[in-house]
């Protein structure tokens, strides 16, 4: 079930998830909408570039480093916004860090990041195909920003760039099945804590 603005604030106050920084907890003012909370654009824009003649092959390891090498990062400011031309694609991230912890025995939550209708009217997408913020996620949210419109659009830091729709997850998504708890062998013989994490 989607949380209302009032329920979002209640959960934040109870520490069930966090959105940081949070300007205030008045549900009748921005960044709250009736069933979502707006997030702001951070100060970094990453621009994909084509430095390599090779295609992306996700079957090979190290794709994260490969993508980093095929990109250029800039910092935007009030004086120097990023000019997003029609048809171009960049990555941004939210100013806010979110944390949707998975705690055994506690309710947990996930979210979807969605665009804002005001930006959509200008042809701006802030994500495509990957809106889900899974339970257990912690960090800033990466935005895949595309300008589908014919007009150039300026990206400023702290502009309301997206909205977060939060839902409760039924059950614990990363719980160990009870029949395996405390077991260290496939046969289920309890040997004690022999599993060392390096």
């Amino acid at each position: 079930m989607i949380l209302s603005n009032v329920e979002i604030i209640k959960c934040l106050n109870e520490g069930l998830f966090t959105i940081d920084p949070l300007p205030h907890t008045d549900p009748t003012q921005a960044p709250y909408n009736t069933s979502a909370i707006d997030l702001r654009l951070g100060t970094e824009i990453t621009i994909p570039v084509n430095n390599s003649p090779t295609a992306i092959d996700i079957r090979k390891g190290g794709i994260a480093s490969y993508l980093t090498n095929q990109s250029r990062r800039i910092t935007i400011s009030e004086d120097q916004p990023y000019t997003l031309r029609g048809g171009s694609f960049v990555l941004g991230n939210t100013r806010e860090r979110v944390n949707f912890p998975i705690e055994r025995g506690q309710k947990c939550y996930s979210a979807r990041v969605e665009g804002k209708s005001s930006l959509a009217r200008c042809g701006i997408l802030i994500h495509f195909t990957a809106p889900t913020i899974h339970a257990g996620f912690e960090g800033t949210i990466t935005l895949e920003i595309t300008n589908l419109g014919p007009l150039t659009f300026l990206l400023y830091p702290d502009m309301a760039i997206c909205q977060l729709i939060i839902e409760e997850v039924s059950g614990c998504p990363a719980d160990i099945p009870s029949q395996f708890q405390g077991q260290n062998t496939p046969a289920g013989i309890k040997l004690g804590n022999t599993c060392k994490v390096r």
């Binding site: 390891g61 480093s65 899974h134 257990g136 990466t142 160990i176 599993c195």
Partner: protein, 85 residues
Amino acid sequence: MGKNVIWIPVKIKDGMFTNEYAVKIELIDGATVSIFADKSMIQERKGVPHLRVTLINRATCPDRMRVLLPRETFETSTPWVDVPC
């Protein structure tokens, strides 16, 4: 994440944003997968970077354990991986 949080050794490089690392993880079968992870998810232990993950099942220790990564990997499109204990 309480008791289920463990740290596994990884290799890191700079990510696409300053608040993240490009993280390479070696799986039990020798394959490597990669993700971008927030810097708060990385901790150096005895000179080796470690990634914070959620332990799901260590029933097959001392060989392997199944963990939940902070996000799905590029190479396997899943956050569930088996890594060495």
